[in-house]
C-alpha cells in the first residue's frame, strides 16, 4: 500500500470516528440529568417564581425544548453550513469564541512543548552519554523532581518567587500585549515553565533510557569499530534511533495537552485558553461549546496520530504501511 492510499484510508476512518465523537458528546450532554437552564434555578426560585415555567421558557429561548432528534439534526445541518451554534454561557457564536481563544492555548502549548523537547532531549542524551556520573545523577534527580511537582503548586511557587518577591514578571498573563512582541514572550515565561517542566522531566527520562538501550546495540559497536567519530555515532545513529519512542510520546502529549492538559496552568496564570473555555462550558452545560471543543480535540488527536505514523516511516525506513 502506498503512503497516499494509507493516508486516505486513515482520513476516512478519522471522519467516522469524529462523527461518532460528535454524536456521543451531543447525546450524552443532552440526555444528562442537568439542563443549561439549571444555573437559573436558585435565582428564579428566590424570586418566588414558578421554576418549572420559567425554566421551560428559557429552554424554549435556546431551542432546547424541541425533540432530541430534531435538535441533533438541526445541529448537524448548521454545522455543515459552518454554524457551530450559539454559546449561551458567553453570549457569542461558538466559532467566534474558539477563534478568539485558541491562540492563547496554542502559543502556550507550542512554547511549552519546545521548552520541554529541547531541554528534555538534551538532558536525556547528556545523561545517557555520561551514564553513572555525577551529571547523570543530577539530571536524574532533577527529572524526578520535575515529574513529581504538581502544576498548580509549581505555578504558584513561581509566581511567589519571581513575581511577588523578585518582581521580574507580572503575576498573570496580560492579554493586552501584542502577540508577536518580546513583552508577550516574557509574559509567557512562567506559564511555559509551569506547563513544560513535567513534560521536560519525562522526556529526559525517556530519552535517557532509549539512548542507553541504543548505546548497547551491536550497530553502535560496529560504528565505533569502523572508526566513526563519537559525535557522528551519537547524532547520526544513536539519536535517530532513540527518537522513535520519544516522537510517539511527544505526539500523544501534544494531542492531550491541547484540550484540557493546559487547564491548570491557564487557571493559575489567567490565560483565557481553550482549557478554561471548555471546562467552564462543561459546568454551564453549554453543549454547543462542549461539542465543538470535543470535536476539534478529537480531530487534533486523530491528526497527530496520523502524523506520528507517518513520522515513523521517515525516521525508520524499515516500517511499512501494510
Amino acid at each position: 500500500m502506498s503512503m497516499r492510499e494509507y493516508v486516505v484510508r486513515r482520513l476516512v476512518y478519522s471522519a467516522v470516528i469524529a462523527w461518532g465523537v460528535l454524536t456521543a458528546t451531543f447525546l450524552l450532554l443532552r440526555l444528562g440529568p442537568s439542563s443549561p437552564a439549571d444555573r437559573y434555578l436558585a435565582n428564579v426560585a428566590a424570586r418566588g417564581q414558578n421554576v418549572t415555567q420559567v425554566l421551560a421558557a428559557i429552554e424554549a429561548r435556546y431551542g432546547l425544548d424541541k425533540p432530541l432528534h430534531v435538535q441533533y439534526l438541526d445541529y448537524l445541518n448548521n454545522l455543515v453550513h459552518g454554524d457551530w451554534g450559539w454559546s449561551f454561557s458567553t453570549s457569542m457564536p461558538v466559532m467566534d469564541l474558539l477563534q478568539r481563544h485558541w491562540v492563547y492555548s496554542f502559543q502556550l502549548i507550542l512554547l511549552s512543548m519546545l521548552f520541554a523537547m529541547v531541554l528534555g532531549i538534551f538532558l536525556g542524551l547528556y545523561s545517557a552519554v555520561r551514564h553513572n556520573t555525577r551529571a547523570d545523577y543530577a539530571a536524574t534527580f532533577l527529572s524526578f523532581v520535575g515529574i513529581s511537582l504538581p502544576n498548580f503548586w509549581l505555578g504558584i511557587m513561581l509566581i511567589l518567587i519571581f513575581s511577588v518577591k523578585l518582581g521580574w514578571f507580572k503575576t498573570y498573563y496580560d492579554t493586552s500585549l501584542p502577540m508577536f512582541s518580546l513583552a508577550n514572550l516574557k509574559a509567557l515565561v512562567l506559564p511555559v515553565m509551569t506547563l513544560g517542566t513535567g513534560m521536560m522531566a519525562a522526556y529526559t527520562r525517556y530519552t535517557r533510557s532509549a539512548t542507553l538501550e541504543n548505546l548497547r546495540m551491536d550497530y553502535v559497536r560496529t560504528a565505533r569499530a569502523k572508526g566513526l567519530p563519537e559525535r557522528q555515532v551519537l547524532w547520526r545513529h544513536v539519536f535517530r534511533n532513540s527518537l522513535l519512542p520519544i516522537v510517539t510520546i511527544i505526539m500523544f502529549d501534544l494531542g492531550s495537552v491541547v484540550f484540557g492538559g493546559a487547564y491548570l496552568t491557564e487557571v493559575i496564570f489567567g490565560v483565557p485558553g481553550l482549557g478554561q473555555i471548555s471546562f467552564n462550558a462543561i459546568f454551564a452545560d453549554d453543549y454547543a461549546v462542549v461539542v465543538a471543543v470535543t470535536l476539534i480535540g478529537a480531530i487534533v488527536v486523530l491528526a497527530f496520530n496520523l502524523l506520528t505514523d507517518v513520522a515513523y516511516t521517515i525516521l525508520d525506513p524499515r516500517i511499512r504501511y501494510d
Partner: protein, 560 residues
C-alpha cells in the same frame, strides 16, 4: 453575590424618608489617569444584553456603563443617579412617579426619555416572546390572577408605575430598573433569537453618557474592560471618573489573586481571611474589613429528616450546643459576628432587643442541651449533615458542628456533595408518587430524593428590604426546601407586604416581632454574619469602606 450584583439588587429605598442625597465627591484627581484593575475569582458574566442575564456578574459589568436610577451609600441613604429627584410614592402606595434627569443621552445623541423606560417594560420585560427571567418581580396578584404592573408616560422625563395593590417594598424593584433605547430595541422586537444576537445590545454601544465608563472589550474568562466616559453626566463638574480604564480581571484561584495584589499588579480585590494578617503587614496595601449581608446557617430538615427536628425544643437544644463565638474564631478567623435572626446589624430594620441568643452566653450550654434531648426522649441520635464540597468555610462549619454535637451525644455523619447535586438531590423535592416536577418547595408532603437532617449553607438578606427572605421561612416560600412552617411567621411576612407596612414605624415593629419569633422558633440555627475583607493598593483614595463600599467608585482615584 458579587458586590455589583448586590448594588444592582439593592435597587432603591423609601426616598422620601431617607435623608442625605448628596454623593461623596472629592474635588478631583491629583494623580494622572491610569488603569484600575480589580481582581475577582467568581465566575465570568453570561451576557451584556442585560435583560437576558440571570447572574450578578452580568449586571455588574453592565453597571459600569449604566448607573441605574439610584444607589445607596454605606448608611443605606439614597444617592441619586439617573433620578432628578427621589421617586414619589402616592399616599395609598399604588403609584410610583419616577422623574429622570434631563441630560441623559444615548450614544447617537438622542435623549433618554420616559418612553424608553415604558417601552422597555411593556415591550421587552413584560413581553412573552423574550421571556424575561425576572418578569415575576413586576407582577402582582389581583383577583386571584397574576398581572403586570402598569407603566405610564407622564411627560418626556417622567414616568409612573401603577399598582392595584400596595406593596411597601416594591420601590426597590423599581430602583433596579435598567433601560434600552426604544429606537434600537424596536428593530429586534418579536424575534428572540435576533434580540439575543444583536451586536449593539451585546456590546453596549448604545449607553451614551449613562455611566462613568464605556465598553471596550470583554475577553471571556479573562477580563472585562471599560474606558473613561468623558461625557459622563455626573462628571461635568469634577471630571469623574478618574481612571483611564477600569478592568475586571478574572483569576482562577484566590492564591493567584492575592499574589497579584501583593505584587501591585492589581489595585483591588477581596482577601480571604487566612491572608489578611500577611497583607496587612504590607504597607503598600490597605485592608478594610466590612460587614456583608450574608450569613451562615444550619438548616433543619423538617420534611424527611430526623423527626425530632420538627420540635422547637429540639432545634433549640441543637442550637444551644453549637458555640457561635467558637465558630467565628475558629472557622471565620474572627471575621464575623453571631447571628440570631436574619436581619444584619447594618440594616435600619435590625432590632436587637428581645432576640433569643442561642449559642452564646447562657444559651451556649451543652449540659442543658443534652438534658432537653433526653427529656424529649431522644438519645443516641445519628444525624446526616450535608454541604457543598469545595466551599472550605462550609466544610469547616460542618466539622465544627459534628464536634460540638458529639458532646451532647449526637453522632453526625458529614456528606460533602457538589453544588448541582446538593440542589437537585437534597434541596429540590416532590410529593412521592405524584407527577410534580421537582421544586425547592413542593408543599408539605414533598420530600427530597436523598435524605438529610442538617445542612450548612449561606443566605443573604437585603438590609433595605429584608422581607425578601420570606422565600426561605414562609410556608410557601420558593426556597423553603426544609419544609418549615409557622403560621405566625407567615402572617408577619404577609403584613410586611400589606399597606399596613407603608408606615415606616409600623414596618420596623413588624420586623422586630418577626425577628424575635424566628430567634425563638429557629427554623434554622442562625450562625454568623460574615465580614468581607477588601484589599486595596494604599494609593487608591476615595474609598469609603462599608456594606456598600463601591457606591462611589466613580470618584475613586490614585494618589502618590
Amino acid at each position: 453575590m458579587g458586590r455589583r450584583g448586590f448594588l444592582r439588587l439593592c435597587g432603591g429605598a423609601a426616598a422620601l424618608s431617607l435623608g442625605c442625597l448628596q454623593p461623596s465627591k472629592p474635588s478631583g484627581p491629583r494623580g494622572g489617569l491610569e488603569a484600575f484593575i480589580e481582581g475577582v475569582s467568581a465566575g465570568d458574566a453570561e451576557t451584556l444584553n442585560w435583560i437576558l442575564a440571570a447572574d450578578a456578574a452580568s449586571l455588574g459589568y453592565v453597571s459600569f456603563t449604566m448607573d441605574g436610577l439610584a444607589t445607596y451609600d454605606n448608611q443605606l441613604r439614597l444617592q441619586l443617579r439617573w433620578l432628578r429627584e427621589p421617586v414619589e410614592i402616592s399616599r395609598d402606595g399604588l403609584e410610583y412617579t419616577v422623574p429622570l434627569r434631563e441630560d441623559l443621552r444615548w450614544t447617537d445623541g438622542n435623549p433618554v426619555r420616559a418612553e424608553d423606560f415604558v417601552y422597555t417594560m411593556e415591550h421587552l420585560m413584560f413581553a412573552p416572546w423574550l421571556r424575561y427571567t425576572y418578569a415575576g418581580d413586576w407582577m402582582e396578584e389581583v383577583d386571584g390572577a397574576q398581572r403586570f404592573v402598569e407603566p405610564r408616560v407622564v411627560d418626556k422625563n417622567t414616568f409612573a408605575i401603577i399598582r392595584e395593590r400596595a406593596s411597601p417594598e416594591f420601590l426597590y424593584t423599581v430602583m433596579g430598573l435598567l433601560v434600552y433605547p426604544e429606537h434600537i430595541a424596536k428593530r429586534y422586537e418579536g424575534d428572540a433569537e435576533a434580540f439575543t444576537r444583536a451586536e449593539e445590545l451585546n456590546n453596549l454601544s448604545y449607553t451614551g453618557n449613562l455611566g462613568p465608563y464605556r465598553f471596550v472589550e470583554w475577553i471571556r474568562n479573562d477580563k472585562f474592560a471599560v474606558e473613561r466616559n468623558p461625557d459622563y453626566y455626573l462628571g461635568r463638574e469634577d471630571g469623574a471618573p478618574y481612571f483611564d480604564r477600569y478592568v475586571v480581571k478574572l483569576f482562577g484561584s484566590p492564591a493567584a489573586r492575592h499574589a497579584a495584589l501583593e505584587a501591585g499588579d492589581i489595585a483591588y480585590t477581596s482577601v480571604d481571611p487566612p491572608k489578611v494578617g500577611q497583607l496587612m503587614a504590607n504597607k503598600a496595601i490597605r485592608i478594610y474589613t466590612v460587614p456583608t449581608n450574608g450569613f451562615l446557617l444550619l438548616d433543619f430538615n423538617q420534611r424527611n429528616g430526623w423527626a425530632g427536628l420538627r420540635l422547637r425544643e429540639v432545634r433549640q437544644a441543637i442550637s444551644m450546643a453549637i458555640g457561635k463565638e467558637l465558630l467565628i474564631n475558629s472557622v471565620l478567623l474572627g471575621f464575623g459576628e453571631p447571628a440570631f435572626s436574619f436581619i444584619p446589624k447594618v440594616s435600619p430594620l435590625h432590632v436587637d432587643e428581645g432576640l433569643e441568643r442561642y449559642g452564646v452566653g447562657a444559651l451556649y450550654d451543652k449540659s442543658r442541651a443534652r438534658e432537653v434531648l433526653r427529656s424529649a426522649g431522644y438519645a443516641g441520635v445519628r444525624l446526616r449533615i450535608v454541604t457543598n464540597s469545595g466551599n472550605k468555610t462550609r466544610e469547616n462549619v460542618a466539622f465544627l458542628v459534628k464536634q460540638e454535637l458529639s458532646e451532647i451525644g449526637v453522632e453526625v455523619e458529614i456528606k460533602l456533595v457538589p453544588w448541582p447535586t446538593l440542589l437537585r438531590k437534597y434541596l429540590m423535592n416532590k410529593t412521592p408518587g405524584s407527577d410534580q416536577p421537582p421544586r425547592f418547595n413542593n408543599g408539605p408532603g414533598a420530600v427530597s430524593e436523598e435524605p438529610w437532617d442538617l445542612l450548612v449553607i449561606g443566605y443573604t438578606t437585603d438590609p433595605k428590604q429584608p422581607s425578601g427572605t420570606e422565600i426561605f421561612f414562609a410556608t410557601d416560600g420558593g426556597l423553603n426546601s426544609s419544609g418549615y412552617s409557622n403560621g405566625k411567621v407567615d402572617g408577619l411576612f404577609k403584613r410586611l407586604r400589606s399597606p399596613e407596612a407603608l408606615d415606616e414605624g409600623r414596618r420596623r415593629e413588624l420586623y422586630a416581632e418577626l425577628s424575635r419569633e424566628l430567634s425563638v422558633d429557629l427554623p434554622v440555627d442562625f450562625l454568623a454574619f460574615q465580614y468581607a475583607n477588601l484589599g486595596f493598593q494604599a494609593r487608591v483614595k476615595g474609598v469609603e469602606p462599608g456594606i456598600s463600599t463601591t457606591y462611589n467608585y466613580q470618584w475613586w482615584r490614585f494618589e502618590g
